[in-house]
Symmetry: C2
Subunit: 313 residues, 2 copies
């Protein structure tokens, strides 16, 4: 049996870039898997996917304050760095580097906060503080794709995602980056951003990993009580039923959506959104005649879960 590979841990962004450039100088291609840590099998499957495309791989572990609003769960976002490293070592082939920076918004001037839930001036709100004129103030937005679905209840979320992903791309300089399809809108936004800003990076979407009972894996699942977890199974069950119904010829989105909402509400979930959208444009689709994705966000207790299912149409 292969000896588990211990990843090199890099916290400094310049050291990270130097490592990548030394790999590139040796002709090695680089895969990046951006994560916020508290890894589960879903993350590990992204690494296995990356191994198919590149010679070396970098997993970033960074809880990005730029994508959380002060009223969101940044402070309770779970973490377990040592456990993460062990899990990464269990992946066949392992990973070469874990990039684990302390604060990617600290530029050594002014006072730039890290996850203190401060409020920026001029109505722009994220957990990254405006450091009195010298703080972070550059944001990448993917206008239309970022407005619907999760963008409705989390208006600064995708701005924060696109910005941190741009930063990671510029620091790690990967050839390929792998994102999970569970965050479907995020995958589409990053793909569009890469095209629109001409990043020389190939984006790969990787299938959702589920628990045996069908629950989509998420770092937030740990916050679910046993009871809530059982109720949350209604999401995947109803989505699967909807897919079966389409395959049986039911192509009216409104009927399919109503039936999924009903099932989740009966189980005790509170719907944030339930929408059937085009797989590329994420525009709502009324009749399913081309590839779509059925996207759900719902609350169970204090936990907001998202899930989706691709339907070929």
């Amino acid at each position: 049996m292969e000896k588990p590979k211990e990843p090199k841990i890099i916290t400094d962004k310049n050291e990270m870039r130097e490592w990548s450039r030394s790999m590139r100088a040796q002709g090695k291609t680089i895969g990046l898997i951006p994560t916020m840590g508290f890894l589960h099998q879903g993350h590990l499957s992204l690494i296995t996917e990356a191994h198919k495309h590149t010679k070396v791989s970098v997993v970033s572990i960074y809880v990005n304050p730029g994508q959380f609003s002060p009223n969101e769960d940044l402070s309770t976002y779970p973490s377990d760095f040592n456990g993460d490293i062990k899990k990464l070592m269990s992946v066949p082939g392992g990973v070469d580097v874990v990039f684990h920076p302390y604060n990617l918004y600290d530029y050594g001037v002014g006072s730039v906060g890290h996850g203190e839930g401060r409020v920026e001036k001029e109505g722009v709100v994220s957990c990254v503080e405006d450091g009195g004129g010298s703080g972070h103030e550059t944001w990448v937005t993917v206008e239309r794709l970022g407005k619907g679905l999760c963008g409705k209840s989390r208006p600064i979320f995708f701005r924060g995602v696109a910005t941190i992903v741009s930063k990671l791309f510029n620091i790690v300089e990967p050839d390929v980056a792998v994102f999970g399809k569970k965050d479907y809108q995020q995958l589409r936004i990053v793909t569009r951003m890469v095209r629109d800003l001409d990043f020389a990076i190939r984006i790969i979407g990787s299938d959702i990993t589920r628990e045996k009972d069908g629950l989509a894996m998420s770092s937030r699942n740990v916050h679910l009580s046993t009871d809530e977890r059982e109720k949350a199974l209604s999401i995947n069950r109803s989505l699967s039923k909807a897919k079966d119904a389409v395959e049986m010829g039911q192509i009216n989105s409104r009927d399919l959506i109503n039936s999924v909402i009903e099932s989740i509400q009966e189980a005790g979930g509170r719907i944030d959104y339930a929408e059937i959208v085009d797989q590329e444009s994420l525009k709502a689709v009324e009749r399913i005649t081309s590839p779509v994705v059925f996207c759900i966000a719902a609350w169970f207790g204090k936990v907001r879960l998202i899930d989706n299912i691709e339907i070929s149409g």
Copy 2:
């Protein structure tokens, strides 16, 4: 005498990136000078500046529709590609590549316009068309720095600048990029963007080049009548006087500004703005006790000119 170097002309972005990567593989550093063409001595001085820092140099010539509003002068923006090449060959050391793409917003899907003055949906207005869900929709904004000075009368201008500069950075992958101080706000915005998004690029600001009579060089000067051109000299004259006044102990911004406005208006100019701001934060300064820059935008006939002067304070 050295034989003038003929630049390689590249129009394809992938070919451009391959060229840069082949240079980097040979250990050569790359300087980028982004321009919109119709070059003058001011541009050529940026190339001379770039030569001090890098081994090879790329001049991009691209009139960026993303930074023009439909009511602005995109369609009349002057161009003279053959003349530009001749001028570039006159620079000692020349340039290695002229990157001259046709349309950096055409992604081969939908219909993406090029300078047709179309209006995007949802109130966002630039000369880049929304191609029905598949068009360009990613924008880089430097929030606070982009709001004042030129940002007031040109609300989408710096969004367009930061976006096209990001695209050029990702295509050319330079080590150094040179920008003129005439576009002072642009220089500060690009510098901040590079820091905030972790681009591995050093930004160098290069001094304003002036005609013998003091007029700041600009591609737009060609649109001035002889009479307007004479009147426009009031900008630099009054700015120089203001600098002298500060050196003589006058540190009240309001008085200095009023006197400059008066001089330019007397000469027949129409002021867009006249402000004294901090050199780094671009925040307005009431009393000059630290390094500032006095920035002016004014119309002479149908031509809007900008100029500025740094004052050490």
